[in-house]
Structure formats: structure tokens, C-alpha cells
């Protein structure tokens, strides 16, 4: 409504100026009215423009068409009046058309800006989502790594658990030696004439036994506790020998002859000794288990190590057990696949992931009846760059 009031105001101002200037200058009326119509249309829009046209036409008719200040019109002034009205109408129409075009342009520009802002926001949101997703993925990967490490540890503990009887024996044995030798030492010292040579020998054997027990415990503890992998230069033969020492009792109890055929002067590999020990332990325990039903041939577990021409160290664990059937072969390394009554079916997949994390390969070969050979390669430490 106020736009119409402004149009009236413009026209009123034009009217007053025209009346004021009528006396000294004759009839300059229509310029002001034209300006009023243009200004009204330009500023307030088409409707108020029409109002200004109407109002100024009436004002002109009354004040400035002779006879002045009267409604009647002489016939010779009629074309003039209509020309004036027509000019006003055309001005109004042109201005409002122009205005509409500009408004459309402005609206277009505004819309464009809004759309750009919207697009920018969408882009930002997408970007934020991507960043979140990446962080999420990193967190998932970290969690996965933690889980994998923990799973490997649990599997180690499970394996160690299967070895419990052996380990108990392994620790108890040197302790028994300690007690026997310490008692002997005391007995030699308590004789009427103490025999110091015998006493000393017994005491030395006791010390040796205690050291042996503590070594076993250190081995077990490192196998159970450590969770973050650490890479270092590793002598694979030493790991094989240590693992064989851990399982020798288990092998003997199961009537399995353990033999090591280790190549001397093997290059070192870069790896985590505990994880590698876990792999060898898994393979050895599997081999021993696989032979538990074998009665018609010797139960033999052979661990070999050697160097391969292509910068690799090769370790194989061969049993003379029941073998792996052709249909089970592809599933051997699948998680939770097991043919044993006890056992998680995690040993081999974990072993494979450990070996692959070391840049090596783990695979199995079996003729399906007379045993299986598990082999893995590890890149040698000095050739790791190549």
C-alpha cells in the first residue's frame, strides 16, 4: 500500500511544482508529471505507476488544459491531452518492462548465488563425510590391526595351552634336578668328612637346572605376553631350534621322531621372532596332531631350512601323517576351517597372515595319503630392498 502512497506523493509533488511554475513560465507541467510517472513506476512498480498515470492525467485535465481549473476541454486540446496520456502510458509500460527485466535478472543472479551456495554446502558436506569416512576407515583398520594382533596372541596362548602338559614337564624337570642336586649337595656337606668336590659338582648342577627352568619360563612368557610386532634381524635356525625344544616333549609323548635338517650359514631374515616362532610352533603342532592316527609307518616330523636363489629363506615342516584331501586343500587356510576335534581353525590363517606381513609366502603340499609339507619363504634381511 505504501508504494501507492509514494506514487501519489510523487505525483502531488509534480502537481505542486507545475502549479508553482505555471505563473512565471506558462505550461511546463508534463515534464514533472512524466518524471513522477517514471519515478513511481521505477521505484514502486507497475500498479503505482498506473495510479501516477491516472492521477497526473486528472490533474492535467483539471489544472493545465484550458480553461484552467475546470473539467471541460476544448476540442483542439483533446489530441494534446490524449498524446500526454499515451506518453505517460508508454513511459509506464517501458519502465515497468525494464524493471521486470532487471528484477528477473536480479532474481536470476540471486538464485544463482543461492544455488552456488547450496552446491558449495553440498560439496563441503560431502567432503566432511569423506573425511569422516576416512577417519572411520583408519580407526577400523587400527581396530582390525589390534584385533588381528590380539587374535594371534590368543591363538598363541591356545597353542601354548595345548602344550601345557609339556610345558609343565619342561619346567618341572629342571626344578626336580635342582632339588635333587641341592639335596645331594647338602648331604655331601653333612657327612662326617664333608666332600667338597662332590658338593660343588652338585651345587653347579643345581644352578644349571635353575637356569634351564628360567629359560623355559622366559620363552613361554614372551610367547604369551608380547603383542606388538617388532622387526629385527633374526636367525631362523635359532627360532626353529627353540621351537623344537618347546615341542620335543609333545613329540616324544606322541611317539613322533623329530628331526631338524638345518642349512648352516643361512642369511638372517627381518622379522618378529615371536611371530615366526608362533608360525613354526603352529606347523609343528599341526604335524604332530596329523600323525596321531598313524600306526603303519614311522611318525616323523622333519623341519628343514635352506636358502633359495631368489633372495629367499625357505623353511619346510614335513609330517608323515594322514595328509590333506584334495577337497580340503583349498580350504586349508580359511579361518575356522579345521578337521581336528579340538582347535579353532585359526592357526593356519594366522600363520599365513604373519608370513605375508613379513613379505613371504606360506603354502601346503600333500599327496593326500602320506603326509603334508608346509613351506614358507621369507625375504633375507640384506636383500629386503630388492
Amino acid at each position: 500500500m505504501s508504494r501507492y502512497a509514494i506514487a501519489i506523493a510523487f505525483t502531488s509533488v509534480a502537481l505542486m511544482l507545475s502549479i508553482a511554475l505555471q505563473e512565471p513560465f506558462g505550461n511546463p507541467f508534463w515534464f514533472f508529471f512524466a518524471i513522477a510517472v517514471i519515478a513511481s513506476t521505477w521505484i514502486c512498480g507497475r500498479g503505482p505507476g498506473w495510479l501516477a498515470v491516472g492521477f497526473s492525467s486528472i490533474a492535467v485535465l483539471y489544472f493545465f488544459i484550458p480553461p484552467y481549473r475546470a473539467w471541460n476541454v476544448k476540442p483542439r486540446d483533446i489530441p494534446f491531452f490524449f498524446t500526454f496520456v499515451l506518453c505517460q502510458v508508454v513511459a509506464n509500460w517501458l519502465i515497468s518492462w525494464r524493471r521486470k527485466t532487471e528484477e528477473a535478472l536480479r532474481r536470476g543472479r540471486d538464485e544463482l548465488e543461492i544455488r552456488v551456495a547450496e552446491r558449495t554446502l553440498e560439496l563441503k558436506n560431502a567432503n566432511d563425510a569423506l573425511v569422516n569416512q576416512m577417519a572411520e576407515q583408519r580407526r577400523t583398520e587400527e581396530a582390525l590391526q589390534v584385533t588381528r594382533t590380539e587374535l594371534a596372541r590368543v591363538s598363541r596362548i591356545t597353542t601354548v595351552g595345548e602344550l601345557t602338559a609339556s610345558i609343565a614337564h619342561e619346567v618341572n624337570q629342571p626344578l626336580a634336578a635342582v632339588v635333587a642336586n641341592a639335596d645331594a649337595c647338602v648331604a655331601w656337606l653333612s657327612r662326617d668328612v664333608p666332600d667338597l668336590v662332590e658338593a660343588r659338582a652338585a651345587a653347579e648342577r643345581a644352578t644349571h637346572g635353575a637356569t634351564r627352568a628360567s629359560e623355559v619360563i622366559v620363552r613361554i612368557r614372551s610367547l604369551i605376553n608380547k603383542s606388538t610386532p617388532e622387526k629385527a634381524q633374526v636367525q631362523i635356525n635359532r627360532i626353529i631350534e627353540e621351537t623344537a625344544a618347546l615341542t620335543s616333549r609333545q613329540a616324544a609323548t606322541n611317539g613322533v621322531a623329530l628331526s631338524l635338517e638345518l642349512a648352516p650359514d643361512l642369511p638372517t631374515v627381518l622379522g618378529d621372532s615371536i611371530q615366526l616362532q608362533q608360525v613354526i610352533l603352529n606347523l609343528m603342532m599341526n604335524g604332530i596332531e596329523a600323525m596321531s592316527g598313524v600306526a603303519d609307518r614311522p611318525r616323523r616330523l622333519t623341519i628343514r631350512s635352506g636358502a633359495q636363489e631368489s633372495q629367499q629363506v625357505l623353511v619346510s615342516v614335513q609330517d608323515s601323517g594322514v595328509g590333506v584331501s584334495v577337497e580340503n586343500m583349498p580350504r586349508l587356510f580359511e579361518p575356522f576351517f579345521t578337521t581336528r576335534t579340538k582347535g579353532m581353525g585359526m592357526g593356519l590363517p594366522i600363520s599365513r597372515s604373519i608370513i605375508e606381513a613379513h613379505g613371504g609366502r606360506l603354502w601346503a603340499e600333500s599327496d593326500g595319503t602320506h603326509g603334508t609339507t608346509f613351506q614358507f619363504t621369507l625375504p633375507r634381511a640384506d636383500g629386503a630392498a630388492g
Binding site: N172, A180, A187, W188, E198, A202, R205, A206, R212
Partner: protein, 207 residues
């Protein structure tokens, strides 16, 4: 004849334990021989002397219980002291049934082991003496003629000379002579002694 010096055999696959036990037993002045496996022990020559065996139950190859069976199958009666990491009850019962003397768990207290060893050797000494006596009695009884053996059985059964003569269809005088030979050859001091010896032989055969 002075009895041979007692000897203790130690069979354990763990050298440190073997040496410790051997040292402990030597410290009280007994002879010791050690073996790393049952096989070595079986193939070794064993002196004829009171002895006992300290045996690890769990060994690679022939285990302790298996060796016990083989020994008793071969008629070798050495008191056995078993040493085990963790003796379960069925295993202990089986070993005891087969005549094991002691079942000690590792680590064994020296005092327990020495007491068991002394008990075992004492028992072997007694058993050896009994076996020797029995062997002597059997030898004396084996020296009787078939006729004298017949008379012996009837005498021991509690028959009088006259009844024996009727049984065998011979004279009372002949029976008396046979009977005197029997008493002399078996070194019986009295009829009661003769009966006791005869019972001992019978019991040992029944076993």
C-alpha cells in the same frame, strides 16, 4: 658268605636329574648306576646284589610302566621306586598292583627318596634271602628219591608210620628208614620243621 654290596639303578632320560639323584644316593654310601633309557638298562649286565630301581614314569621310547611289565614278565623282581611329574591315580594304582614300592612326585625331596631307597633295598635283601632259602629247600627236597617223596607227602599229611606202610603196601620198618632219610636229606630238625618247609614250598609254587 658275605653279601654283595647293594646297588641302586637310576633310569631317567633327563641327565641333570639322573646325576642329582645318583649324587644324592652316593652321598649315603650306596653304589649307583645310571641309565638314560629303559633299553640301556635292559641290555646292561646287572650284578647279583640287593638292588632297587628308581624309574621315571614318562620317558621317550619304553616308559616306566612298560619297563615294569617287561621286568616282571622276565621274572626280574627288583623293587621299583617310581618318580613322576604328575602321578594320576589310575596310573599309581596300576603301578602299585604290579608291585611298585613307592610313587614319588617330582620334585622329590631328598629325604623321602633316600628313605624309600633304604626301604626298597631292605626289602630286596629280605626277598633275596627268602628266595635263597626257598631255593635251598627246593634243592634238598629235589634230592629225595620218588619213594622218599611219596613217604614225605604222607608224613606231612599227618599219617602214622603204620598207616603209611599200609598205604604203600610195605613194611613199617621200611617206612621208618625212608622217613629217616627224608629227615636227614631235608635237614629237618623236627616233624614240625619238615611240615613248615613243605608248606613254604607249596605256597611258593602256588604263587
Amino acid at each position: 658268605m658275605k653279601e654283595a654290596e647293594a646297588i641302586v639303578f637310576v633310569i631317567d632320560d633327563d641327565r641333570a636329574i639322573r646325576d642329582g639323584i645318583a649324587s644324592l644316593i652316593r652321598s649315603i654310601g650306596l653304589r649307583v648306576e645310571t641309565f638314560g633309557s629303559a633299553r640301556h638298562f635292559m641290555s646292561a649286565e646287572r650284578p647279583d646284589a640287593p638292588a632297587c630301581l628308581i624309574l621315571d614314569v614318562r620317558m621317550p621310547g619304553i616308559g616306566g610302566l612298560e619297563l615294569q611289565r617287561q621286568l616282571s614278565g622276565a621274572g626280574i623282581h627288583i623293587p621299583i621306586i617310581f618318580i613322576t611329574g604328575h602321578g594320576d591315580i589310575p596310573m599309581t594304582v596300576q603301578a602299585m598292583k604290579e608291585g611298585a614300592l613307592e610313587f614319588l612326585t617330582k620334585p622329590v625331596r631328598g629325604q623321602d627318596l633316600l628313605e624309600a631307597v633304604q626301604k626298597a633295598i631292605e626289602r630286596d635283601r629280605t626277598l633275596r634271602k627268602e628266595r635263597a632259602e626257598l631255593a635251598a629247600i627246593r634243592a634238598r627236597f629235589d634230592s629225595l628219591t620218588p619213594r622218599e617223596t611219596e613217604v614225605l607227602h604222607l608224613v606231612v599229611a599227618g599219617l602214622l608210620n603204620k598207616q603209611i606202610a599200609d598205604e604203600l603196601g610195605t613194611s613199617e620198618l621200611t617206612v621208618k628208614t625212608h622217613r629217616a632219610h627224608v629227615m636227614e636229606k631235608t635237614e629237618a630238625e623236627s616233624l614240625a620243621h619238615l611240615v613248615r618247609m613243605s608248606e613254604r614250598l607249596k605256597n611258593s609254587l602256588r604263587k
